[in-house]
Symmetry: C2
Subunit: 217 residues, 2 copies
C-alpha cells in the first residue's frame, strides 16, 4: 500500500465547488492543502472558508510548492492554464479531474476534445509531468456537506504510470467511504469524464447526488 501521509496537495482552480470540496476532505484527513487560483486573494478567501490545514495562493505558487497537484479548473481554461505552468508541474504527478461538458435544455452532454479527453490534453501539454485522471464523479455538494461523514463512491483512477496511479488510489482512500479503483489507461479517460453527463441525468431523474461503485472488486 502506497503511503501518502504527509503529502501536500495543491488544487488548481480550488476556489470552485469541486476544488473546495476536495480540499475540505483532504484537510480533514490531515493533509496540507494549497488552494490555487488566478487571484491569490480569492484563493486565500476560499482557504479561510474551508478551515485548518488549508492555505491559498496563486496557481503557479501552489503548483511549485505542493507534492502533488490536482487540476479542478473549468474545461474552458484547462489547456491555457496547464501551458502556463509547464515548468512548475515538471516531474510532478498531476491529477486531472476536469469534465469537458456542455449544457443545453436537454441537460449535460460530452464535449469533443481534440486529444481525446481532458486528461490526454493535460498529458500532451505536460510531457514532463506524470498525468493521472481521477475524482471526476465526486459531488461537490456531498464533499462540502458536514453532515456526510462517509462519501459513498469509488474514484476511478486512470493512467499509464503504475506508481502514480497507485499513489492517487491511496490518496482517494484517505476520504472516508471513498475507494480508489484502477480504471484503465489514459486513452480510456474520455468515457470516465463524459460519464459525468450521465450522472447529472441520474441526479435530475432521481433527485440524487449519484456516484458509482465498481462491483466484484
Amino acid at each position: 500500500m502506497t503511503d501518502v501521509s504527509g503529502l501536500s496537495i495543491a488544487i488548481l482552480g480550488g476556489t470552485g465547488d469541486q476544488g473546495k470540496g476536495l480540499a475540505r476532505r483532504f484537510a480533514l484527513a490531515g493533509h496540507e492543502v494549497l488552494i490555487g487560483s488566478r487571484s491569490a486573494e480569492r484563493a486565500q478567501e476560499a482557504a479561510a472558508s474551508i478551515g485548518p490545514n488549508v492555505r491559498g495562493a496563486a496557481n503557479a505558487d501552489v503548483a511549485a510548492e505542493a507534492g502533488i497537484v490536482i487540476v479542478a479548473v473549468p474545461y474552458e481554461g484547462h489547456r491555457a492554464l496547464l501551458e502556463s505552468l509547464r515548468g512548475e508541474l515538471a516531474g510532478k504527478i498531476v491529477v486531472d479531474c476536469v469534465n469537458p461538458l456542455g449544457f443545453d435544455k436537454q441537460g449535460a452532454y460530452a464535449l469533443p476534445v481534440e486529444e481525446g479527453s481532458a486528461a490526454q490534453q493535460a498529458a500532451a501539454v505536460l510531457p514532463d509531468s506524470r498525468v493521472v485522471a481521477a475524482f471526476h464523479h465526486v459531488s461537490a455538494v456531498v464533499l462540502l456537506d458536514p453532515a456526510v461523514e462517509k462519501v459513498d463512491l469509488d474514484v476511478l483512477v486512470l493512467g499509464d504510470d503504475r506508481e502514480a496511479t497507485d499513489l492517487v488510489q491511496a490518496l482517494a482512500d484517505v476520504i472516508p467511504g471513498v475507494r480508489g479503483v484502477y480504471g484503465g489507461r489514459l486513452r480510456n479517460a474520455h468515457q470516465i469524464e463524459a460519464l459525468t453527463a450521465n450522472l447529472i441525468s441520474v441526479n435530475r431523474r432521481y433527485k440524487a447526488h449519484a456516484g458509482i461503485r465498481i462491483t466484484d472488486v
Copy 2:
C-alpha cells in the same frame, strides 16, 4: 411500475456469450426467449443449450415475432443487420447493448462511431423503432454461471422515450440482483458503451467480473 410479465424477448446475435447469458436469465425469470442468428440451425442449437422457454430461429423471424428485441451482435455486423431488419423492427422497442471496442496489446479501447454510439447508429438506421441502450456491462461469464444466483450490478438504461426506458428498466429488474437505472438520453450512450473498455481493464487488474452500481439512488 411497468408490467413486463408475459413479454416475449428476441435476442439478435443470441448465439454469442452475452446473448446466451441474457437469454438464460430472462428464461429463468419466466419469459419466452427467442434466440436469433443468421443461421436458424445455430440459433436452435444455442437455444437447446440454454434450456426451457428458449427457442431459436433466423434473426428476421425472431425480430418479427417477439414483443421486444435485444441487439447483441458484434459491432462489425451491427449496421448491416439492423438495415436488413428495418421492416420487422418497425414500431418495436429495440434494446441495443452493443459495445464498439477495439483490442490491442494494451487492452480494450473505444472505437469511434460516426453516429456517436452504436445506440445512435441503431436509432439512425431504424427511424420507426423505439431505440433504447442498455445491458452493456453485464458479464457473460456471470450470467451463464449457475452458481451465481444474484447478479451484482445496475443496468444503465438510456433513451429519449420515457415509456420505452421504463419498460427496459423493468425488464432489467427481472434478473435477480440487477436493477435498471435511468442513465440519460441516447446522445449520452457513447460513454456507457465505451465504459466497457474500462471494466475490462478493471477485470484484468483485479481478476474480477466487474460491474457498476449507482450510489444514492
